[in-house]
Symmetry: C2
Amino acid sequence: MNPKIDKLIKLFAKLPRVGSRGGQRIVLSLLQDKTGRSSALAAALLDASESIAPCPVCGVLTDRDNACEFCRDANRANGQLCIVRDLADVWTLEKSSVFHGRYHIIGGLLSGAGGILPQDLNLTTLPGRISSEKITEIIFALPNTVEGKTTQHYIMSVIGNVPDVSFTELASGVPLGGELDYIDDGTLTLAFGGRKTL
Amino acid sequence: MNPKIDKLIKLFAKLPRVGSRGGQRIVLSLLQDKTGRSSALAAALLDASESIAPCPVCGVLTDRDNACEFCRDANRANGQLCIVRDLADVWTLEKSSVFHGRYHIIGGLLSGAGGILPQDLNLTTLPGRISSEKITEIIFALPNTVEGKTTQHYIMSVIGNVPDVSFTELASGVPLGGELDYIDDGTLTLAFGGRKTL
């Protein structure tokens, strides 16, 4: 196989959920395309990789050296700060329109096996934000897993007690449309423990 | 969402079998990567899209204005010419090491619905190749479908009768490991019609 094509396939194959067959398919479709899709993709990729960087305040990817759309938006300064693992979680929350405050991306979860240590988390700007943005509620929207909960407890211990700031986390329980016999024991235990009076 | 990120996701989402969720995942992994994978991918893509073109003889993608690795290889001038639909089929045949002659990519199959017409097929160099490369056998390895067979008959009518050139096609039948109750009726009919004496 031509070495340039081979190199391109190998680079595409390493992308999430693509693999070598998917890489072949993508490269064939791009190189056989006559509408200039491959140069458009190369240009957009180069442009984004050179000019996009994490927001220095919250960690959302945005134009380099600028505050992101959320940190610039004064309407979002409602005193609520939502702590999430990564940008994909921000996009998920934005799509549901359930939250209208500011975000803080920590960039990972504490994990012995995965090698993520406290100093790898994006936490340095967090205490300053709580006072400068007059935060009154910190909402933890981390994954409902051992790593998520460990990380949440660590962050709470770092922030400590701040007067007039409450900490909340998302509710645990049976998902909407969830049939009981498909729910795992851990979720059932949480749902029972958190049962509500009608 | 940042417009540069949004543009990049949309371009990735249009690639085969990626889609919008896959595009988000790929763009996040590329933009959060600190090892320069995105600029490497952009450079390889630009390089390939500028310097790769179909071989002027057989249609295999290769360095622009050069004959491809198959047409340059004198060992492959064994008198056999395999007619395939596209480069993916060449890669599949090469992986199986079943064929050691030259290829001819026609670039599509005749189809009323898909809008592929006889003049869209890469056939202009084919008659010349048969004499200049001393072809003795033309092997049709087109898909075993109505479109594939229609295209095969059309190509045979274009070439016409050439002395000392035989036309062959791949055998039809039950695939290796194929259980009879999973085989469709058409394949079963072909396998019965082509049954061999033991």
